[in-house]
Amino acid sequence: MSQAALLVLADGRFPAGGHAHSGGAEEAVKAGRVTGAADLEEFCRGRLHTTGLVSAALAAAAALGLDPLELDEAADARTPSAALRVAGRRLGRQMMRAARSAWPDPSLDQLAAARPKGAHQPVVLGLAARAAGLGARDAAYCSAYECVSGPATATVRLLSLDPFDATGVLARLAPELDLVVREAAEAAQRAVADGVDELPAASAPLLEVGAEAHAGWPARLFAS
């Protein structure tokens, strides 16, 4: 087991379907809420502290060995948007495929059998991290980073944003990412002791509403 497995799992080229999702950025761009690097930064910051924190905590809890089906149910309850549940499960299924190839493990097989159309992505990610010998914080880092790097990359394509500006946004968010990961990992530890209700449930109304709007568009670049 190697710490470098974290780099494999966190790599933007890890073939788990993320490239086709904008994390709500496509809708926010079309609605005029994101028009440049400054908006993108606030968008990513808001996402990081809401859905990012929740995802990171779910991933950390899965990495700690909590029952993935119970976590999957917790993810459902924390994802009111049906469109986002569909996207989350689709990405989970894609993550599952990649993870089973990279780090074959009976725990992944079991979850794949129980949720053939996909468990929520952070749960699969956490389980994959565990199969790769990584810890709860590693899983939380992967999940939290992905939740901001996805919209940043998508916005580069959507707005022809200068890629250096987008990377600058991610770099500036790094200290906050550390905080979110710490909070997520602590919540996951509490969940081990006191149950999954200890996991955060921070929500972002406009991400939820926007996801339903986006899912209804006849033409779009990204799946979510």
């Binding site: 709500g24 926010a28 609605a31 809420r33 994101v34 908006d39 606030e42 968008f43 990513c44 910051r45 808001g46 996402r47 990081l48 502290h49 809401t50 924190l53 149910e73 917790a74 459902d76 309850a77 924390r78 994802t79 009111p80 948007s81 049906a82 469109a83 549940r85 906050e176 999954v196 209700d197 955060p200 449930a201 921070a202 929500s203 972002a204 109304p205 406009l206 991400l207 939820e208 509403v209 339903e212 709007a213 899912a215 209804g216």
Partner: protein, 257 residues
């Protein structure tokens, strides 16, 4: 029980409401207990169910206060709870946050409508709200929550509101909104509220949604209806002001019930 014991501890108070079916299609209220600044009063009901209005005996909650409403609609009951006016979260002399906890229980073959007026987060206030609804498998729930960030033209206070709905022991919805000065970053940005000052949620749980759940729908540019992962739907609306949020939720309520 309502005692302002000093600056640091604030007011403690609990309102308790219990409704149960009278066995003849009506609803009785064996418990209607208002020890504290929130007083529940039975009001005239249009139908067979019971109607209760929460009346605020004082302006609050202030910093350091801890108010609780416990309402139970037991087997066979139909209970509707509203409030006489909006609730203001106000700054207190205490540096502590105020707490407001709502505990709703809905039994089998029973229905609860929780339709209070808005919660207004006044400048410099700090309030933590938790709303928990526990439903039996054949229970129905209509739950509305609206938050307004600041009175007209005013900055928002700090507000955290967590809403948890459980049905037949399983989690159906768990959401927390955190906003105002000192909230985690980005709360007013393009992913979360984008400058909107009113937020509303309407949860409708009905056993018959197990067969026919309404599909997702947009209710204007910043509001949507979405089916939850169970026999329930959630309407989420944000708008520049409370009136527009209420209009959206009312419209949704009309079409869904």
């Amino acid at each position: 029980m309502t005692v302002r014991t000093g600056v640091a501890s604030g007011v403690r108070g609990t309102a308790r409401i219990t409704a149960r079916g009278d066995g003849r299609g009506g609803t009785v209220l064996p418990v209607l207990d208002g020890e504290g600044p929130i007083v529940p009063r039975r009001t005239r009901s249009a139908g067979a169910g019971a109607r209760v209005t929460l009346v605020g005996a004082m302006s609050g909650p202030l910093g350091g206060d801890h108010l609780t409403v416990e309402a139970a609609s037991r087997e066979g009951a139909r209970l509707q709870i509203g409030s006489a006016a909006a609730t203001l979260a106000l700054p207190g002399q205490s540096k502590e946050a105020a707490r407001y906890d709502v505990r709703l229980t809905v039994g089998d073959a029973s229905e609860l409508h929780w339709l209070p007026e808005q919660l207004i987060s006044v400048r410099d206030s700090d309030l933590r709200v938790t709303t928990r609804a526990d439903l039996a498998a054949s229970a129905s729930l209509v739950l509305r929550e609206e938050q307004v960030l600041g009175r007209t033209g005013e900055e928002a206070g700090r507000l955290t509101s967590r809403l948890t709905v459980r049905r037949a022991g399983r989690l159906l919805l768990d959401q927390e909104l955190s906003c105002g000065p000192g909230a985690p970053g980005g709360w007013d940005g393009p992913a979360v509220l984008a400058g909107h000052r009113a937020i509303g949620q309407l949860v409708i749980v009905r056993p018959e949604f197990d067969q026919h759940r309404p599909g997702p729908a947009l209710l204007g540019e910043t509001a949507s209806l979405t089916p939850l992962a169970g026999p329930a739907v959630l309407v989420t609306a944000v708008a520049p002001d409370a009136l527009r949020v209420r209009r959206t939720l009312d419209e949704a309520l009309r079409t869904l019930t």
